[in-house]
Amino acid sequence: MSEVKPRRIAAARQMKKVMADHFLGIDAASKDPARKVAWCTSVGPAELLQGFGFEVYYPENHSAILGATRKATDYIPHANAVGYSPDICSYLTADVGAFLQGYTPLTRAYGIQSVPRPDVLVYNTNQCRDVQDWFMWYARHWGVPCLGIQTHRNIGPVADDHVASITAQVERLATELEEIAGPLDPDRFRESVALSRRCSELWERVLCTGAARPAALTFFDGTIHMGPAVVLRGTQAAVDYYELLLAELEQRVADGVAAVEGERHRLYWEGMPVWGKLRPLSQQFLELETCVVASTYCNSWIFNQLDPDDPFRSMARAYTELFIVRDDAVKEDYIASMCEQYQVDGIVYHDAKTCPNNSNNRYGMPQRLSERLSLPFLVINGDLNDLRCYSEEQAKTSIEAFVEQLDQAN
């Protein structure tokens, strides 16, 4: 099979700059006694923290960088050794393990010596319980407060009482944050919510270019370009970046330019990325002329419920309507509608060993959706960060065999 080169996205250069500015900005803030740093979970209350003037740092993003740079597996054992099981979130274990060893990939990338010391850590358990344990570890280490929102789980339709309960928690959080950072700036808060909403709308349109035939964007592109949507939502920098990226991708759609040359099959990816294997997986799909056109994962940073005129309630609703906190019936309906919108030929489920909340293949969903949608599926065993749980040969063979099966079906 000949070497096929992936189609480059020109905006990536600007993204690198935006991300560098973000990390260097936080590093500077952490060294400035007049400024405050908050650590926040990836779908935590970032807008509120910005309303208090915090620089916001996201450890999940940091751990994903550990994974993508193939360093995570080296550091996970160090967290295991202090009592954090290899069976729990490998974002947690990689990040804590790297910290224990005094390592951060930010040094090589940006010359930053260490992750920023927080003044407060703020989580939302909408992702999972592990984020709370993760943040508590650092809170104990630094002797700083760890505050959080406890989100309901397995939610069917989101009811007013769900939203009311989370709104009350966000409001209580604001009171607690006041003691650390002084009064909330309501204008800055509303502005942050408005910018987050704008960022989210643009990011959604970016992802929608994958619905074009041929798709202008792959899931693997999405995992890279989602960086600003995760760590810079609530800022103008993210909005500016997605306007640039969207223009490029919409031009691709207008010109009929394919992200995967000769696109023959279109797939949906359910589950986490295998961060340390993004490139070989992307390359394999490219060579098989198969485009992974959409995913639950990349779409999880779309928060169009955010409303600057009702910031507390709309934040509560946005972070409760998330896919990951919903019950299987809602999740199935969501995936079914995505498969229809993106016209996919099959679904790939990534069963991530250490991330049960993002592994939706464990309770019969692939079989139910396959029957409902008449779509074939494939389950890949792996992990987000711990490459000890991933058999590259087995995954490659499974993917190749799945595409052979799609070829036969045509």
Binding site: E393, E404, Q405, Q408
Partner: protein
């Protein structure tokens, strides 16, 4: 004479099959894969050619499969072993069926429709339990060759002995405990073979016609009756089950050559 070759470079053994224009098997080869898959592929091919009384120049098309499929430099195309085992099994049993391939490193459950088209497949999870290497480990532990494991199991008299562990390492520890308890080695051998068959059960709901392929049943023939007992259905085994993947690859080679000839 125009010939078609299929090479299956597996984790333990490399297999080759040569077909003639009438898709009849003229020769086959089998060799240890070792550390150089390219050389193993040549050895297996040459052995198959010698049996066929032919030489390499007569091969019109060659297709490779198996873990080392990319290392076969003289193959025109490659296919996964999932595809090739399905094709090879269908060659012998042309009907809707479930192919159960138990190989050295993995097992696969492949559903095929009445026309030979693959419907779906499942592979074992990342663990040696349920594969040939598990039985090799157990044979090594009991200090007997793999073929002897089958004979020992045939002599088993106590069907109540089972291995319940999910993992090869735990199963070995379990065997140690059973030995300590005085359980006979023959019963342990049978329990190990039973446990491989039970791992197949968890892959998919299996009904209807079942065809068992791969290297394990070639060395451990009682796997057929064991699987029949576990699945509750009759299980067919093709002639030379270890060569099923190579046969499937040779059939792809035949199709590739035919489509090139007809311009399709």
């Amino acid at each position: 004479m125009t010939l078609f070759a299929g090479i299956d470079v597996g984790s333990g053994y490399t297999k080759a099959v040569i077909l003639d224009e009438g898709r009849e098997v003229l020769g086959s080869g089998l060799t240890h894969s070792g550390a150089n898959f390219g050389e193993a592929a040549e050895r297996a091919r040459d052995e198959a050619l010698a049996e066929a009384g032919a030489d390499a120049q007569q091969i019109t098309a060659c297709v490779s499969t198996g873990y080392g499929r990319s290392n076969v430099t003289f193959a025109e195309a490659r296919r996964t072993e999932i595809d090739c085992h399905a094709r090879g099994a269908y060659y012998h049993f042309p009907r809707a069926m479930t192919v159960v391939d138990i190989g050295g490193q993995d097992n696969k459950v492949i559903r095929v429709d009445a026309t030979g088209r693959r419907i779906d497949f499942a592979m074992n999870r990342k663990c040696a339990a349920g594969t040939g290497s598990f039985l090799e480990e157990i044979a090594f532990w009991l200090k007997v060759p793999l073929d002897e494991l089958n004979r020992m199991a045939d002599r088993s008299t106590d069907a109540s002995v089972t291995l319940g562990s999910y993992c090869t390492v735990f199963a070995k520890t379990e065997i140690l405990a059973r030995i300590r308890e005085g359980v006979r080695a023959d019963d342990l051998a049978r329990a190990a073979i039973d446990s491989v068959a039970r791992r197949v059960l968890e892959s998919r709901v299996i009904t209807g016609s079942v065809v068992l392929t791969g290297g394990v049943v070639a060395h451990v023939p009682r796997m057929k009756q064991t699987l029949e007992g576990v699945l509750g259905v009759e299980v067919d085994v093709p002639p030379s089950p270890q060569h099923t993947g190579a046969l499937g690859a040779a059939l792809v080679a035949y199709n590739v050559a035919e489509s090139q000839q007809t311009g399709r």
